[in-house]
């Protein structure tokens, strides 16, 4: 159901939503970029619509609203384990079409691959998603190539339009916030882009033989293994376990899981000293093949949704999009 609200009404609705929901959206964090006097856009809890960075794509994806960078699985005291309680509130997450497509990938790993993940599921069940349309393409994204430029899988679509806010509500849970308002119903369709600056063709004939391609070493030799590409990626889900004991009472501690990167040293190290992917080239191949080849073999669709964040963040100017296109070109 579509509505056109005045900004004032929208702010009032937002105030009501806040009572029941923790609302996460991309925010500008001034001065918190990598370099002096540079900013970063990442997710954070917001208190008003004004805080949302609506124009530019976030540097880091929405995934941290569902998968904490550091997630305490349980606390232990002697033989007891205590699972931290979950927020009473529901979650409302603002995101773009690409990220909503990425959500399906997170679900695939955390809900379908092996047993359901307790921690992911308990948050996921509380979450509703607000689509932020894209009126123009971002710089490095190739969502159109990946078919992630458009979605109708949102609970709410919300567009800031000058003095007005346009809303399309698909969810029953959220409909109550809009139905009683004295607003004119109107048809609202979500903005989406039909063209990107980047166009990527996926290689169609990848196989185990592709592992021998010299392209991995050629890109790998430029990679510094910092893991930024993984940390900004909305579809990367890997984590590592950490057990810690508190310094002032070593009988008490916690086990947590922490985001991990397949590009960073230690990812494949096992006790006893063996390590399975030692070079950055092998790690690059592992990542790229996962994004465009083996995830699809397992789940039936590619992992990558073409948000382009990895290309934008790489300090060594490695373009994953270009790498893929080169693979495709070699096939032709």
């Amino acid at each position: 159901m579509g509505y056109q609200l005045s900004r004032k009404t929208a702010d009032e609705v937002f105030g009501k939503l806040k009572e029941r929901y923790d609302i996460f959206a991309p925010k500008l964090f001034q001065g918190e970029g990598c370099f002096s006097d540079t900013d970063i856009i990442r997710y954070g809890k917001i208190d008003s619509l004004d805080e949302i960075e609506y124009e530019r794509r976030s540097d880091y994806s929405f995934k941290e609203a569902l998968i904490a960078i550091n997630e305490t699985l349980f606390y232990f005291t002697e033989d007891e384990t205590t699972v931290p309680s979950c927020t009473d509130k529901k979650l409302l997450i603002f995101l773009r079409s690409c990220d909503l497509h990425a959500l399906k990938r997170l679900d695939a790993i955390y809900l379908e691959n092996g047993p359901e993940d307790f921690y992911y599921k308990r948050l996921r069940e509380k979450a509703s998603f607000v689509l932020m349309g894209c009126s123009q393409t971002c710089d490095t994204g190739f969502c159109v190539s990946m078919g992630a430029n458009q979605t109708d899988q949102y609970d709410l679509y919300l567009k800031l339009d000058g003095d007005f806010v346009l809303v399309d509500c698909k969810s029953e849970e959220l409909a109550g916030y809009f139905q009683h308002l004295e607003t004119e119903d109107c048809a609202v369709t979500a903005d989406y882009v039909t063209e990107n600056k980047e166009n990527v063709t996926l290689p169609k004939n990848l196989s185990v033989d592709s592992f021998q391609n010299p392209i991995w070493e050629s890109y790998g030799s430029r990679c510094i293994g910092c893991g930024r590409c993984n940390f900004v990626c909305p579809t990367c889900t890997c984590f590592t376990m950490q057990d810690i004991h508190y310094r002032d009472n070593s009988n008490v501690g916690e086990r947590r899981r922490v985001w991990a990167s397949c590009q960073v040293d230690g990812y494949t190290d096992i006790a006893g000293g063996n390590s399975f992917r030692k070079t950055q080239g092998e790690r690059m191949r592992f990542k790229v093949m996962h994004k465009i080849y083996d995830f699809e073999k397992r789940f039936g669709y590619p992992m990558c949704i073409g948000c382009g964040r990895c290309d934008a963040v790489c300090p060594e100017y490695i373009s994953y999009a270009n790498l893929i296109s080169q693979l495709a070109k070699e096939e032709a």
Binding site: G31, F35, N70, T240, S261
Partner: protein, 324 residues
């Protein structure tokens, strides 16, 4: 009729008297070494009209237009006017060129306009100080550099300002990739270690270079909102006792530094040797003569340091002594 030139006045007007009789050079100050490209064209015009077509890029980031005839100084000053205005140099009388030359051009590395390591905008701080201290005939050298790499070689100056940032650490964003630890160890002072999978920063050791922040892939390390500086004092070259400037303030703020430099002008006026040749005695030698304690008293007058600023109560210089 011989050429009748007041060389003292000419020198203070930023002209050099060259080794060739009747020929001098015009010196153009460019605070922070930061200028609009159109100024290059103006410099070219003067060099081709009044000079010999050659321009020297000075060691202090200015221009020196070679081969000018000393009798053309007034005409050159007229042509310098748009440059002086574009660079916003303090001046009493329009069209009369530079009102002083003792306080040298303020230099700066490229800073955070361009460089990923820099912790602040060196050019704009340089310009701020230029506005505060110029014109003045006292011989002061001030230089700015963006980070402790000190590409600006500020430790060879009376006042060296080195950019710092106080790393802000959010453990909830840290994935223990240790890029910061490795970066600090290989590029800086090895002030970080891991404890319980999180980073512990040795605050005594940390020099605020910001390497941990540029290396961090998750924004667990970010820069402090407050910009910090290290102030080094009384470095110099020279015939008697060249030496590197020593740390005076660490984690200092911009206002305190400006005030200390201004206070130092008052200190120098009070204590400069009245018989110094050309009225020119370097500050460092004055401090050597009257003692650091006295300098400090004058320098810190009315200065309110940040609570986190560390001050060296005593400063000792070493360097090479050719004068003993």
């Amino acid at each position: 009729m011989g050429l009748d030139i007041n060389t003292k006045k000419a020198k203070k007007n930023a002209f050099r008297i060259s080794k060739e009789r009747g020929i001098g050079a015009s010196r153009i100050r460019v605070p922070g070494g930061y200028l609009k490209a159109e100024i290059l064209g103006m410099v070219q015009e003067i060099a081709e009209k009044y000079g010999n077509g050659i321009v020297h890029l000075t060691t202090r980031q200015g221009f020196e237009i070679e081969g000018i005839h000393l009798e053309d100084m007034d005409a050159i000053n007229e042509m310098l006017q748009p440059i002086i205005e574009l660079l916003d140099i303090n001046q009493q009388d329009e069209g009369t060129g530079y009102p002083a030359s003792g306080t040298r051009n303020i230099t700066a590395c490229i800073g955070n306009n361009v460089c990923p390591f820099a912790n602040y905008n060196t050019a704009s701080f340089a310009k701020r100080v230029e506005k505060e201290i110029f014109p003045n005939d006292l011989h002061f050298k001030v230089a700015f550099t963006g980070c402790p790499n000190d590409c600006g070689k500020v430790r060879l100056h009376d006042f060296g300002i080195i950019g710092m940032t106080m790393p802000q650490y959010d453990p909830s964003r840290c994935v223990n990739c240790q890029a910061c630890v490795k970066g600090c160890k290989s590029l800086s002072v090895n002030a970080l270690r891991v404890e319980n999978y999180k980073i512990v920063r040795d605050e005594e050791k940390c020099i605020g270079c910001g390497v941990c922040i540029t290396k961090c892939p998750t924004r667990a390390f970010t820069r402090s909102k407050q910009k910090y500086y290290k102030l080094t004092l009384m470095g110099r070259t020279g015939k008697k006792n060249p030496r590197l400037g020593e740390d005076f303030l660490i984690w200092a703020d911009e206002d305190s530094i400006v005030k200390i430099i201004l206070n130092t002008y008052r200190f120098v006026k009070e204590y400069i040797d009245p018989k110094a040749p050309g009225g020119k005695e370097h500050i460092g030698y004055i401090i050597d003569r009257v003692g650091f304690e006295e300098f400090k008293k004058w320098a810190l007058e009315g200065v309110e340091l940040l609570p986190e600023t560390k001050m060296k109560e005593c400063v000792y210089w070493n360097g090479i002594h050719f004068d003993r």
